[in-house]
């Protein structure tokens, strides 16, 4: 038995007196001739957050959640119930409710075999919460605040938040799966407001990883976030109106990879493609992007925010090529959609918690490096936009429309980066936009680790990344000329 399964059993099952034969009994409750798949997902999570504002430690809070979600699938029908009381009678009730999607059931016993797992550890199975003492956490917040304030007298407000979480999950399924993961996650965010001559602007920065809190002390990362947030706010104090209309757009490396997340990522999730509601449905093997584009979803990067040892269905995460040299290679799958599409799960079955159903979700989605020098890319633009930082994005996977909002951008004139412009939304059509990517830089960078993706009301941590790239034509939603 892997260490992770042992930790998960010790964390979740032992304290409530559940033993492995109880799992067999629950799974037995979920079997029957009409049931194609069923699983039980146990979760225990603890989260801690701290907020510094106005120079004082204003808030500290702690949250503990635990429960089990039970799912039974018959054909393309799914029955689901969950309980936050981990007692056998409640769990058996939940199993009966989930199984009620079919009229028959409960006629088979299941033995969990516990498939041999490679024991891969992309991150240490730690609880990050005690990795710094409370005094050290408070000290870290104060140092970040001081660092931001000392950058420039125009800084008027600094908000620093520090969040740590540990998520322990254990999955057992009637196909014999027994797998577990212990997922640490930390995040630090800095938000500043700068004021000059009556004008106020904001800047924000942050980062995180599946690691302990001392991640922020290494390489003075936390202080770097403070400097970066102030730099952005000061740049925005100088920003002029953003242009309105279509123009060439150069996206910087790293976080602007939110482009890929929105323009192609969601549209390549298995559920939409099984149902035929995505603009990319039925297009495997077709050219859907320019030949300089290779896009992957990679849950196997050590320590990354979007990485998973195993997904929430117990499948090992993978490196999945979505688009290779512009050709669509495949979709991201969970078990349910993979079974219905007669392919294998790609380890993308994720859920916000035990109280939510899993579905195909991204992990870390990025574009591989190309061959162009970033300077060379900018030098080819006569008049356009250079966007380096973004807020969120959104996509309509059916029409392919997507948006993402620049929070730091500059005009490009005659191949040179000029004055900063105010934030503006960029809009395009995913498949069209990807065919207009004409140059890809050699400077692949992943984001700093703060991404949250929302789908059907469920939030999960994700990563994005890309090299500098040029889109020949994209609509920029400013107010200027």
């Amino acid at each position: 038995m892997s260490d992770l399964i042992q930790i998960a059993q010790d964390t979740i099952l032992v304290p409530v007196g559940l033993i492995e034969t109880d799992l067999d009994r629950m799974l037995g409750e979920l079997t029957g001739s009409a049931i194609d798949a069923a699983d039980i997902y146990f979760q225990s999570s603890r989260l801690e957050s701290w907020v510094l504002e106005d120079g004082i430690i204003k808030e500290g809070s702690h949250n503990i959640e635990q429960g089990a979600g039970i799912r039974a699938i018959s054909g393309d029908k799914t029955g689901f119930a969950y309980s936050d009381e981990l007692q056998l009678p409640m769990l058996l009730d939940a199993a009966k409710a989930a199984r009620a999607i079919t009229s028959s059931g409960g006629d088979r016993t299941v033995r969990i075999t516990g498939k041999e797992v490679a024991g891969r550890q992309l991150y240490a199975p730690i609880n990050p919460l005690p990795s710094l003492s409370e005094t050290e956490k408070v000290e870290l917040l104060r140092r970040v605040d001081a660092e931001a304030r000392k950058q420039d007298p125009r800084v008027k407000q600094v908000i620093v938040s520090l969040v740590g979480a540990q998520d322990v999950v254990l999955v057992a399924a009637i196909d014999g799966t027994l797998n577990a993961d212990v997922r640490p996650l930390v995040r630090l965010n800095v938000h500043v407001i700068a004021e000059h001559k009556g004008r106020r602007e904001q800047g924000s920065s942050g980062g995180g990883a599946r690691d302990a809190f001392d991640f922020f002390l290494q390489e003075e990362r936390a202080l770097g976030f403070a400097q970066e947030a102030v730099r952005q706010a000061l740049v925005n104090l100088e920003a002029v109106e953003a242009p309105a209309g279509t123009m060439p757009v150069v996206l910087g490396p790293g976080w602007p990879g939110v482009l890929l997340h929105e323009a192609v990522g969601h549209g390549l999730e298995g559920d939409f493609n099984r149902k035929g509601t995505s603009a990319f449905s039925g297009r495997v093997g077709e050219q859907v992007a320019s030949s300089v584009c290779t896009v992957v979803d990679d849950g196997t990067l050590p320590g990354r925010r979007g990485s998973l040892n195993v997904d929430d269905e117990g499948t090992e995460s993978q490196y999945t090529v979505l688009i290779e040299k512009g050709v669509l290679k495949g979709y991201m799958q969970d078990k349910h959609n993979a079974r219905l599409m007669k392919v294998d799960s790609t380890g993308n079955g994720r859920r916000e918690s035990y109280a939510h159903l899993p579905m195909p979700r991204m992990t870390n989605t990025y574009m591989l490096a190309g061959e162009s020098e970033p300077d060379e890319i900018i030098s080819t633009v006569e008049k356009g936009l250079y966007a380096v930082n973004f807020g969120g994005g959104q996509v309509d996977i059916t029409s392919g429309q997507f948006v993402f909002s620049a929070s730091e951008a500059y005009l490009i004139e005659n191949g040179k980066i000029k004055q900063p412009v105010k934030g503006a939304t960029l809009i395009g059509n995913g498949p069209d936009t990807m065919t207009r990517v004409s140059m890809v830089g050699n400077d692949l960078k992943l984001d700093a680790g703060v991404g949250v993706c929302g789908k059907e009301g469920q939030s999960v941590p994700v990563g994005v990344g890309q090299p500098t790239l040029k889109i020949d034509e994209l609509t920029v939603g400013g107010t200027g000329q």
Partner: protein, 444 residues
């Protein structure tokens, strides 16, 4: 389900236990909330049940004060042991947070003493089979409405009931059950190369007040096919109508900008505007927290403070901010009983329905969908993806997509020409459609 009154007594006892435990641990003040919800969420897709989810959610949260230091903790576990651990965790945090002169419970004299029954609890005695039948009727109506509807994301029925109890060490305790039911439908249409999806939904505290399943399905289908063949328009300046369901977002942004937490952080474009003209003279915006059966009705706010009818905009002038006790102390003001937000916000309608607004606009853009979060609350700069229809001579000409609309909210508020009579009622913030004089549209 257990008798609601009995369950409410149980949750009140839990709150009492939490507060007692907090005092035992040395807290000088404390507040606690406990909630318990249960429901059914079910989707029918392509005529077959797709998912059936039985939901049951519990939660408790406690905030303790040691003088003016604060700590909080929450859990989904309502057991006695969890209560002790949660209070202990909150107290532990209070050892490390700073003295904050503004921290603390709301003033005792402001606690609500009259807790009227606002008639928010109307459980729906609905079997899974009944629910499947209703969702099936809804989706079938959508799929049969137009031959261009070729696919579906399904029809979803939600029915939830719950209880929420709040109490604090001033001796305030309040609690009430509530219910919420909805039916939604999303379908996909195709014509030539264009594929579009759209949706519609109905929402109420009473199942009897939901629109018929067929009506919901038909509107979803009509909205979907009306978007087929959408195209960008060229970059220009033009008047814009925000259809009522998206105009709700503008009203929410206004409230967000006069909220205390944004003001004391200087993170609002409406700093220091009390008494200023923010809208044209004809505009009146107000809050009615005591509406019977209202989607956001409550007799007390999240701190136990009595809620009241409140005017925010009268004759275009800002009358009040939206404050909880913390923000109020930060700003040297009095709480407005808005911990947790505004409850049933309304803006007065004029005399024109949507067709009338289109006539008044003559030529411009009707926005029916917005995309992205392109709003900077510090500056009011607004830039969002949009879809809708181009209008000429007061008539819809063709569907539009892949465009952005941009402006500054302060100017957009002053540029409000008319509010329609087509009030969006499925929201805690209710408004008719807005006609705004001019925005920048960026497109192909």
């Amino acid at each position: 389900m257990m008798d609601m009154q009995q369950r409410q007594r149980q949750l009140e006892q839990l709150v009492d236990d939490l507060l007692t435990e907090a005092k035992r641990c040395g807290a000088t003040a404390a507040e606690a909330g406990v909630s318990s919800d249960a429901g059914l969420s079910l989707t029918v897709r392509m005529g077959e049940p797709e998912t059936i989810e039985h939901t049951r959610d519990n939660g408790l949260g406690v905030t303790v004060y040691f003088g003016q230091r604060k700590g909080s903790a929450s859990t989904s576990d309502l057991s006695p042991q969890a209560i002790r651990e949660t209070v202990e965790a909150a107290c532990n945090f209070a050892r490390y947070t700073s003295e904050d002169v503004c921290a603390g419970l709301a003033d005792e004299s402001l606690m609500a003493t009259n807790l009227p029954d606002l008639d928010l609890y109307h459980p729906w005695d609905l079997t899974v089979d009944d629910a499947i039948a209703l969702a099936t009727r809804c989706e079938t109506a959508a799929r049969e409405e137009d031959e261009r509807i070729f696919n579906s994301e399904g029809a979803t029925l939600n029915s939830h009931s719950g209880l929420h109890v709040y109490g604090n060490t001033h001796g305030f305790i309040g609690g009430y059950p509530s219910s919420r039911h909805s039916l939604s439908c999303a379908v996909v249409g195709k014509e030539d190369e264009s594929m579009q999806r759209d949706y519609w939904y109905t929402l109420s505290r009473l199942s009897e007040q939901l629109e018929s399943p067929e009506a919901v399905g038909q509107v979803a289908a009509r909205r979907t096919v009306s978007r087929l063949g959408a195209r960008p328009i060229t970059t220009r300046q033009a008047p814009v109508i925000f259809q009522s369901d998206v105009a709700v977002g503008l009203l929410r942004s206004f409230i967000g900008a006069i909220r205390g937490s944004a003001l004391y952080r200087k993170a609002s474009f409406l700093l220091d505007t009390l008494g200023d003209q923010l809208f044209p003279d004809f505009v009146r915006i107000y809050e009615e927290p005591h509406l019977l059966r209202g989607l956001a009705s409550a007799a007390y706010d999240n701190e136990g403070v009595a809620t009241t009818h409140r005017s925010y905009i009268q004759d275009g002038l800002l009358q009040s901010y939206v404050l909880d006790s913390y923000a109020a102390r930060k700003l040297g003001m009095q709480t407005t009983g808005n911990a947790g937000g505004v409850r049933n916000l309304r803006i007065d309608s004029g005399s024109l329905d949507l067709a009338g607004l289109l006539k008044k606009m003559d030529s411009g853009l009707l926005v029916t969908e917005l995309m992205g979060q392109g709003l900077n609350m510090v500056t009011g700069d607004y830039s969002r993806g949009a879809a809708g229809f181009w209008v000429e001579n007061g008539e819809i000409q063709y569907p539009v997509e892949e465009i952005t609309i941009a402006g500054n909210l302060r100017e957009m508020f002053m540029g409000l020409q008319e509010v329609g009579t087509d009030v969006e009622t499925r929201s805690s913030v209710q408004t008719g459609s807005w006609l705004i004089d001019r925005m920048t549209i960026a497109g192909g």
